[in-house]
């Protein structure tokens, strides 16, 4: 897929035949020929510093991104640490046959797709609501304070998130169970009941992301030409009518593009959320095991490189097709927003 760098044809100087044209013109022609040469030399001199400036990052990208891409072929090998990539035997699709024979394959695919789908939907609704609300009062000095409060969770690492989720849900000392007891209810074993974790993770994801996305949509609302609102007000619209009939339709392109780009990433789960927050509890895997955590555990915990690489390959290919598809649609709507 990687295109090799090749020079553009229009930068190669094309000599013009000079013998058939009059002398006066000939001198001009040689002049211009000299100019072209000078031009291409200048172009090169101009481009070399740029190439040198980009070089360190280009080398980095080759080492840290492109070489591992080639390494995807590990999935077709019986990889052994002592034999290395080239020494290990080719085994065809054996790793995939094993992977898709397990119950886990269906589980992780479903969990990844389903949870990401729920995340996209809940985040969209919540952040749009917040953006519209902030817009109602955005000239007020408190607006900035609300934005900061909502944005803060975005910068809290999942290690810390896991710590306070534990303080909320710990069986004996957790705030939630203590409250339940005070209300005369039974405590809940949060960390051994997989069923609770879809809503819990959805809430945590919402908590972490709503500030970021509401700022994105708020910026989108601010970019709407005020004349639209004026015109609608003249027509007698107010409050919610303005939101529904002016803000939302004009925001639609931005919404569609962001949703499409999120759908493009639907095969990639947030590793920190699914690994740290449920504290890697085996009892919760039924709802919390996703592609990324599965690959990680197969690689680091059980050391099953065959399974890990097969699942990784599966994720890379399906994920790539989804990203490609969503970006193709985005490009049709707004070429500027597309990745390619």
């Amino acid at each position: 897929m990687v295109q090799l760098i090749k020079p553009k044809p229009h930068l190669i100087a094309t000599p013009t035949p000079t013998s058939t044209i009059p002398v006066s013109a000939r001198t001009i022609a040689t002049e211009s020929q000299k100019d072209t040469r000078k031009y291409s030399w200048r172009v090169l001199r101009k481009n070399v510093p740029w190439m040198l400036m980009a070089a360190p990052a280009v080398v980095w990208i080759f080492i840290f991104s492109y070489i591992p891409m080639a390494g995807l072929l590990i999935a077709l090998k019986d990889y052994r640490n002592n034999l290395g990539f080239f020494g290990s035997k080719w085994v065809g699709l054996r790793n995939f046959t094993y992977l898709f024979a397990t119950k886990a394959a269906r589980e992780i695919t479903f969990n990844t797709l389903f949870m990401n789908f729920v995340f996209i939907l809940t985040l969209l609704i919540a952040s749009l609501t917040v953006a519209v609300l902030i817009f109602q009062i955005h000239t007020h000095y408190l607006a900035r304070l609300y934005q900061s409060a909502l944005f803060l969770p975005y910068f809290i690492s999942y290690v810390i998130v896991a710590a306070f989720v534990f303080a909320f849900l710990s069986t004996n000392d957790g705030l939630v169970n203590r409250t339940l007891i005070n209300l005369g209810l039974d405590k809940i074993q949060w960390y051994s009941e997989a069923g609770y974790w879809r809503p819990i993770l959805t809430l945590v994801n919402l908590w972490k992301g709503v500030g970021f996305w509401s700022i994105v949509y708020f910026a989108g609302i601010l970019a709407i030409n005020p004349e639209f609102y004026e015109a609608a007000k003249v027509d007698g619209a107010s409050g919610w009518h303005l939101t529904i009939h002016v803000t939302l339709p004009l925001l639609m392109p931005l919404i569609v593009i962001n949703v499409l780009l999120s759908i493009g990433r639907i095969f990639y789960a947030d590793f920190g959320l699914f690994y740290q927050v449920p504290r890697d509890q085996g009892l919760l895997y039924a709802t919390t095991n996703v592609l990324d955590t599965y690959v990680f555990r197969a690689l680091k915990t059980t050391g099953d490189i065959g399974m890990a690489s097969a699942a990784g390959f599966y994720q890379a290919i399906v994920g790539f097709l989804l990203v490609l598809g969503s970006n193709l649609i985005v490009r049709r709507i707004d070429p500027d927003k597309s990745l390619f």
Binding site: L4, A57, F64, I67, L133, S157, A163, F166, N172, G312
Partner: protein
């Protein structure tokens, strides 16, 4: 008459509406902050209170015991602070340098390989080899496992930030750069003396994103670090949060009985504090930065 009446009514309704909007936003805002309050409160609580009454949002008996306990034998936490600070400083500066130089080249309309180079860079946003080959290559090929470089090198170029910087650099007035070129300034000099000072908002945004990325990272340590000496702050916290045994085995726990619950939370405060402070002082840049990426 009637008109002023309705106008007055409308205003009253909007006032009520405004109040409702403030109320909803305040509730959401408080919900976002409460978890952090819980952590801070627990860190200033007495261990016995947590054992008896559970975690609570206000300490029953205020005490700084957990902090005193940590700071009494601070070897591991100071070591981890050192690792995190080193990684954050070296990582952020290098990353910002590499990415802005690349972004500058990509933003030059006359650069002859602009298209090819853009494809080369941004293709990595579409497709990646995934964890397994990447991990094997880094640990066995490049042999950076269990070294400080494994916490820095893998994060040096983030295509999304390159995109952000390129978009910003592309908006700079070309005439200014061209006049510097006419006066004989080289590209590197133009970049350092003209482009960098003109791009403070974008560089600050990406720089701060980098700082938080390195400061908050536990993932690379989870993958590559085995030596306690090299544990960054977040990863050390992770090991403490996951197993109490790690703490019991820690030299810190000799002497008085270890107040595990409160110490955990105090560690969380110490690890997050600087990041939160950094966020609060410069959050305006972040908001502008995101807007920059969202609306080109």
């Amino acid at each position: 008459m009637l008109r002023t009446h309705t106008k007055g009514g409308f205003r009253a309704r909007t006032k009520l509406g405004q109040f409702a909007v403030h109320l909803i936003l305040a509730v959401i805002g408080v919900t976002c902050i409460i978890p952090l309050v819980l952590i801070i409160s627990s860190s200033f609580s007495e261990e016995s209170d947590i054992a008896t009454y559970g975690y609570s949002l206000i300490p029953r008996h205020f005490t700084t015991f957990a902090y005193q306990y940590i700071l009494k034998v601070p070897s591991q936490i100071i070591q981890s602070y050192g690792v995190t600070i080193f990684v954050t400083v070296v990582g952020s500066i290098t990353a910002l340098l590499l990415m802005s130089l690349l972004a500058y080249t990509l933003s030059r309309p006359n650069f002859i390989f602009r298209k090819q180079l853009s494809f080369y860079v941004f293709f990595t946003m579409l497709f990646s080899g995934g964890l397994v080959p990447w991990y094997i290559w880094l640990s066995q090929g490049l042999q950076i496992k269990d070294s400080i470089w494994s916490l820095i090198l893998p994060y040096l170029v983030v295509p999304w930030y390159v995109l952000l910087l390129r978009t910003y650099f592309a908006q700079l007035p070309e005439e200014v750069l061209e006049s510097a070129r006419v006066e004989g300034a080289g590209e590197l000099r133009i970049f350092i003396q003209i482009v960098v000072p003109l791009s403070t908002p974008a560089l600050a945004t990406v720089g701060l994103f980098c700082i938080l990325m390195f400061w908050n990272d536990w993932y690379l340590a989870l993958l590559f670090i085995n030596t306690a000496k090299l544990q960054p702050l977040q990863y050390m916290l992770y090991t403490i949060l996951t197993n109490a045994q790690a703490m019991a085995a820690n030299p810190m726990s000799t002497g008085i009985r270890m107040p595990i619950s409160t110490v955990r939370m105090a560690m969380a405060v110490l690890a997050t504090g600087p990041a939160v402070l950094a966020f609060l002082t410069v959050q305006r840049y972040f908001i502008r930065g995101i807007t920059l990426g969202a609306i080109k």
